[in-house]
């Protein structure tokens, strides 16, 4: 844009490729985490809270400070925690903007310097900061879980008028344009410039890789989620509660740390299974699993189980136990009940869990970069490679496809949400 308009800005005053640039990008992109969680929370609150405060003589500002902010503390903190975990997990933005983070450092020490010990130490420190953040959230949130079930009348949004309305639209538009419109238009522009060069047989292979690896991993995640969620529904024991909590851990661990853990585990496993490999094929290599796609799939399951699980679990919660019991009383055993009653009723939850997990895996970068088999590329790794090799224009089509797939998933969720309201 600056080139087209002939504007020169001294890099001393404005350099987007810096830590400030990265902070700006993260703010624009991760803003929905806090916004959506807080909004959904507020939608569930009763309007009488605000009406009562008004009757007690408080003005809008006072209501915001003394009522709305304190009750939304949990939701805001939850969103903020997710944002910090996402930033700690990030590799692409940090690497592209040349910002040194734990994730980029782990990559450097492991790949460029081959220093596994230091990479492990970095990963351990990173893990501690993750635990620190999660612990901090728990402490700040305290015991104040404002969960009112007095669903009398939900809070109704105030209609703004005149200047205030324009201002609100303007502020929302800033986030929408920086987070979505501008980057997408830029990518579209670049893809027009480069499509002749990048769209070839190899690109189709790339798409195929991305789709099938995400599909298989998502399928595994959904199946595991169903088994665990069903187990938790049937048995309310401490063990089932622990299993359910454990599924959530993976999502809070940064990709680079999971990658290192998975590599070490799989290499050990490969050594332990030597006898089996030799029995099948006497000339077998040592690292059978370690050089296969199984390692990557395994890591995806650990990292993204939480995404699928939460969707499936909320489905089970909504359906409850009564239909299961009714089916048992009508002479069906557990398996028949699952396929004839539970599964059809869980379908919306399963589809939304599938869509969310699929998109997350499609755009995953750090895990895929470290754990992919030799010469295996996905849309995400390829666009990273292009960007890394100063060929950012060529990265555009791959990125656009990822955006497109995500849009499809959002549309699917939207339709499902609409259906449920009926």
């Amino acid at each position: 844009m600056r080139n087209d308009l002939g504007i020169q800005v001294s890099p001393k005053y404005f350099d987007i490729m810096s830590i400030y640039g990265a902070v700006f990008i993260f703010t624009m992109v991760l803003f929905p985490y806090v916004y959506m969680i807080t909004r959904v929370f507020l939608e569930k609150q009763s309007a009488s809270l605000i009406e009562n405060a008004k009757l007690l003589g408080k003005n809008s500002f006072e209501i915001f400070v003394y009522v709305i902010l304190p009750i939304s503390r949990g939701a805001i903190l939850g969103g903020a925690t997710l944002v910090s975990l996402e930033v700690l997990n990030d590799y692409g933005v940090a690497a592209h903007f040349g910002v040194q983070t734990f994730s980029t450092a782990i990559f450097k020490t492991w790949f460029a310097m081959g220093d596994i010990d230091s990479a492990l130490k970095l990963a351990a420190i990173l893990m501690f900061s993750v635990f620190g953040i999660v612990l901090l959230e728990k402490i700040l949130r305290g015991k104040k879980k404002y969960n009112f079930t007095s669903k009398v009348r939900p809070i109704v949004r105030k209609q703004l008028k005149g200047t205030l309305a324009s201002l609100a639209v303007f502020i929302c538009f800033i986030f929408f344009s920086f987070g979505f419109i501008i980057p997408t238009l830029q990518l579209l522009h670049w893809s027009v410039l480069t499509y002749k060069k990048t769209l070839n047989i190899y690109f189709i292979q790339l798409m195929f890789n991305s789709v099938w690896v995400a599909f298989v991993a998502t399928l595994l995640i959904i199946m595991i989620s169903i088994v665990i969620a069903n187990f938790c529904r049937m048995e309310g024991t401490w063990f089932s509660k622990l299993t359910s909590k454990l599924t959530l851990v993976g999502y809070s661990i940064p990709g680079a740390v999971i990658a290192i853990g998975v590599i070490l585990f799989i290499i050990q496993l490969d050594h332990k299974l030597q006898w089996l490999y030799k029995m099948i094929d006497p000339d077998s290599i040592t690292l059978v699993l370690g050089t296969s796609i199984i390692m990557l799939l395994f890591a995806y399951v650990i990292r993204f189980l939480a995404v699928g699980y939460q969707a499936v679990e909320s489905g089970f919660e909504k359906v409850g136990k009564k239909f299961f019991e009714a089916s048992r009383m009508l002479g069906k055993n557990v398996t028949q009940t699952f396929f004839q009653v539970d599964f059809p009723m869980l379908k919306p939850a399963i589809i939304s869990g599938f869509a969310l997990t699929f998109v997350d895996i499609m755009k995953e970068l750090p895990l895929t970069l470290i754990l992919r088999p030799y010469n295996f590329n996905t849309l995400a790794t390829k666009s990273y490679e292009y960007a890394n090799n100063e060929m950012i224009h060529e990265a555009s089509i791959a990125s656009l496809i990822i955006i497109l797939v995500s849009l499809c998933a959002i549309y699917l969720l939207y339709i499902l949400g609409d259906k449920e309201k009926v």
């Binding site: 309310g236 024991t237 009564k322 239909f323 019991e325 009714a326 089916s327 048992r328 009383m329 009508l330 002479g331 069906k332 055993n333 004839q340 009653v341 059809p344 009723m345």
Partner: protein, 224 residues
């Protein structure tokens, strides 16, 4: 005796007090028994224990001379031949009325199943409603479907959990009468649970009064 319940005890894990203590009753074939008590007094738990949805910590349940549960035996709910109408009916929302009734039918060919479904729909006066979905029915109609679905596989014992709690007062006495007629037609053994004395008097042969998990007395409904 058709049903024998002996010294039944039940306690939820981590709960300090037992929900059901030393519950014993015998029921004859075709008898309608009401368990009457306040909410939270363990009435529904008795039904769930008879149905096999919960496992008692002590005691024995025999149906038609066969032990369903004791210290060493546990027959799963789908093998007890017991039907239960749930408080909120639990009609499968993804199935039509006919499909809901068909769900429990086994060991029949399609023609026999269709015949049985129509028979049940006629019994509950919902002949034309087979193709509707549960959400297209009123509360009273849903309840009749739930009863038809439960009676279709010909259970030897029918359990009703607070059958009228979801209905308003006007509808209540009307539906109570309707159900009474249906039950008389099928001459099935029934255990039902309620907190309403009127319900108990109108429907039961005998009334078991339950307080804090213990039987206070068992009375003939004529004397109640």
């Amino acid at each position: 005796m058709f049903i024998e319940i002996e010294d039944l005890c039940f306690r939820y894990p981590n709960a300090p007090k037992a929900v059901i203590q030393d519950f014993s009753v015998t029921i004859e074939h075709g008898e309608v028994i009401c368990i009457l008590g306040e909410s939270g007094g363990g009435k529904s738990t008795v039904l769930r224990l008879v149905a096999g949805l919960e496992i008692p910590s002590k005691g024995r349940i025999k149906i038609n001379e066969i032990t369903m549960v004791d210290q060493s035996v546990f027959v799963p709910p789908e093998k007890r031949g017991v039907g239960m109408v749930f408080q909120d009916y639990a009609l499968f929302p993804h199935m039509t009325v006919s499909e809901n009734i068909r769900f429990g039918l086994k060991k029949m060919n399609n023609k026999e199943k269709d015949f049985r479904i129509n028979q049940m729909l006629d019994l509950v006066n919902l002949g034309d409603y087979g193709k509707r979905y549960p959400y297209e029915l009123s509360g009273g109609q849903q309840q009749r479907v739930a009863i038809a679905r439960t009676l279709a596989p010909k259970p030897s014992l029918l359990l009703l959990d607070e059958p009228f709690s979801n209905l308003d007062t006007e509808l209540r006495s009307k539906i109570r009468e309707e159900i009474n007629i249906i039950l008389k037609q099928t001459s099935i053994t029934v255990i039902f649970v309620t907190h309403d004395k009127e319900d108990a008097k109108a429907m039961a042969d005998r009334i078991v009064i339950l307080k804090e998990g213990k039987i206070v007395e068992i009375v003939d409904s004529i004397l109640f």
